[in-house]
């Protein structure tokens, strides 16, 4: 085989994809980077080459809270999404009619546009007319009906529960598929050696699906970062900014306050933090990642 012609063929084949991503994703991102260093006054761009936007961000008393909430959203969301997905995936990997039905239905949250599911959740979680709070109250678990989205101490984690509802099914299906592909001889051998169910899962299944776990973690993190409609429709950052995260705050700064210099600076900070997290994660997991990629 001719290596050089292969090389050109390869570049030719990936060209459309790379070009599309450069044009429609990297291009606008570059634009945002430029804007973050531009002073914007009254909607007019007034001179490039200033750090004012970043200074304004550093001086914003809200920004620390936004970073904290974003950490809950992205890191908490990702970890829970993968853990719950792993548990549900392990359950779905069992052969029985119950799991067969669930496997067929579990993707429903994912196929309904979040413009609608966000409204539905908001309605169900409402502190006076919501079915969830009233059921919990009727069961005697709380004295008063809880306002999941109106209580600043609950709102962020409530959003995470809805986020997991939306994203976890895919993770569960992927991990279910991975678990089912673990060679049954290995599990059988461990059973012979007297390993109990937990030990078999921990020492046989987990190492076998390590690459998948790394992959779904990175993918979920990317999905969760890009998710905007859900928090925006459900709380819009409230109450009292208790659920303000980067994406909602960026939207607010650019389209409600018309302060898009600061909004761009925030996007840049957001992006840098995410790349660091992902790079760190991939570095920590370099073994499973590398072995998977080599296959």
């Amino acid at each position: 085989m001719n290596n050089r012609s292969d090389r050109w063929l390869a570049y030719f084949m990936i060209l459309p994809v790379v070009a599309a991503v450069l044009a429609f994703v990297i291009g606008p991102t570059w634009d945002v980077g430029k804007l973050s260093l531009t002073q914007v006054v009254m909607g007019m761009e007034r001179g490039f080459g200033t750090l004012d936007n970043f200074r304004a961000l550093a001086a914003d008393p809200l920004f620390a809270l936004v970073v904290k909430n974003t950490a809950i959203w992205i890191i908490g969301g990702t970890i829970l999404c993968v853990l719950v997905g792993l548990a549900v995936g392990a359950y779905l990997a069992i052969d029985s009619w119950q799991t067969t039905i669930l496997r067929a239905l579990i993707l429903l949250p994912w196929v309904i546009p979040d413009v609608v599911t966000a409204m539905a959740w908001k309605w169900m979680l409402h502190g006076q007319v919501g079915i969830i709070g009233s059921t919990i109250q009727a069961a005697g678990l709380t004295d008063e009906q809880v306002s999941f989205l109106g209580d600043p101490s609950l709102v962020m984690w409530t959003l995470v529960v809805v986020l997991i509802w939306r994203k976890m099914p895919l993770v569960a299906l992927i991990l279910c598929a991975a678990i089912r592909s673990v060679p049954s001889e290995q599990i059988e051998a461990a059973r012979m050696d007297g390993a109990n169910a937990f030990e078999r899962f921990r020492f046989v299944v987990i190492p076998n699906i390590a690459f998948s776990l790394t992959a779904v973690t990175v993918i979920s993190m990317i999905w969760i970062t890009a998710e905007f409609a859900l928090p925006w429709i459900m709380t819009g950052g409230g109450p009292a900014n208790a659920s303000q995260i980067m994406s909602t705050y960026i939207y607010q700064q650019s389209f409600e306050f018309f302060n898009w210099g600061v909004a761009s600076a925030m996007s840049v900070v957001n992006l840098v933090m995410l790349m660091l997290i992902i790079a760190l994660y991939l570095y920590v997991n370099r073994r499973s990642w590398a072995s998977g990629a080599d296959k």
Binding site: M1, D6, T29, L107, F211
Partner: protein, 285 residues
């Protein structure tokens, strides 16, 4: 697993199933149930679970030209626009993604892993912050308020992940198959199309379904790029609808069911392949 059925085991499995099913399905089911209730019934307290007199009035209202909702929102146009955008961009994504995926999986070239990783991470960049620059770009290309612009944009958004899924799955197919085809005189392109792709069908279907759902549900970019009524997509219609009828969940439920139905049909038929494709894609890397 060859456990012998025991009552305890059976109960455990069923209970777990019920808990998961409640969490995953209840919100969807609740909305679906609401679509058969009347407005007064929905306002009642304490909340009634089952509709007292199930009615399909909300569904009729969606299409009845005399009713409020259909004059505002032309569902047939909205659905056909979304369909055009989703199907066309899915075809683009699968075709281009297959070429690129093949290159990443089967050919050696400098920068391969780096480029693939970069493509994947680029998905993170699509947030609220990119709305304005994207709008500016589309305007420069004279593609605002056009379905073609939306198709190109969605394709660019969907390509990295599709490429990755397809590449991962192609890596699993033994090289020997292809080599023997080429020994027999097939060109690389021929061997790719005749030998490799048929084996990668689940991955292609997965990538297609994946992208279709994403394109069908996208709201933020569509809402800022599209202007004229004849170009609007179904999620824009839904958002207006939800705003206008915020307290009439029977209508919201009916509209949601209507919009989710096409995707549910796709999934009903494609589910088997989808799971297999995910297995090949994300599992083996």
């Amino acid at each position: 697993m060859n456990e012998t059925p025991r009552p305890f085991y059976w109960t455990f499995i069923t209970l777990c199933g019920l808990v998961i099913a409640t969490y995953i399905l209840f919100p969807v089911f609740w909305l679906f149930l609401a679509s058969f209730k009347t407005r007064d019934e929905l306002a009642q307290l304490p909340i009634a679970f089952w509709p007292k007199d199930p009615t399909i009035q909300a569904y009729r209202d969606l299409f009845d030209s005399g009713s409020q909702s259909s004059q505002l929102l032309n569902w047939p146009t909205l659905i056909s626009n979304s369909f055009t955008v989703a199907v066309t961009s899915t075809i683009i994504v699968v075709v281009l993604g297959t070429f690129a995926g093949y290159a990443f999986a089967r050919l050696k070239f400098p920068g391969r892993d780096l480029i693939l990783g970069g493509l994947l991470v680029s998905r993170m960049f699509q947030g609220a912050a990119l709305l304005l620059p994207t709008y500016r770009l589309m305007n420069m290309l004279n593609l605002q308020d056009s379905l073609i612009g939306l198709i190109l944009l969605y394709s660019a958004f969907g390509l990295p992940f599709a490429t990755w899924i397809i590449a991962s799955s192609l890596r699993e197919i033994p090289f020997e198959l292809e080599e023997s085809a080429m020994m027999d005189g097939a060109s690389r392109l021929q061997s790719m199309v005749m030998v490799v792709l048929p084996l990668a069908t689940p991955a292609l279907i997965t990538a297609a379904m994946w992208h279709f759902v994403g394109a069908w549900s996208e709201f933020a970019f569509a809402s800022i790029l599209l202007e004229s009524n004849e170009n609007k997509t179904v999620t824009i219609g839904l958002a207006s609808f939800v705003e206008l009828f915020t307290l009439e969940f029977q209508r919201v439920g009916a509209a949601a069911t209507l919009v989710a139905l096409p995707i549910m049909l796709v999934f009903f038929f494609g589910q088997r392949y989808f799971t297999r494709g995910l297995l090949a894609g994300a599992v083996k890397g």
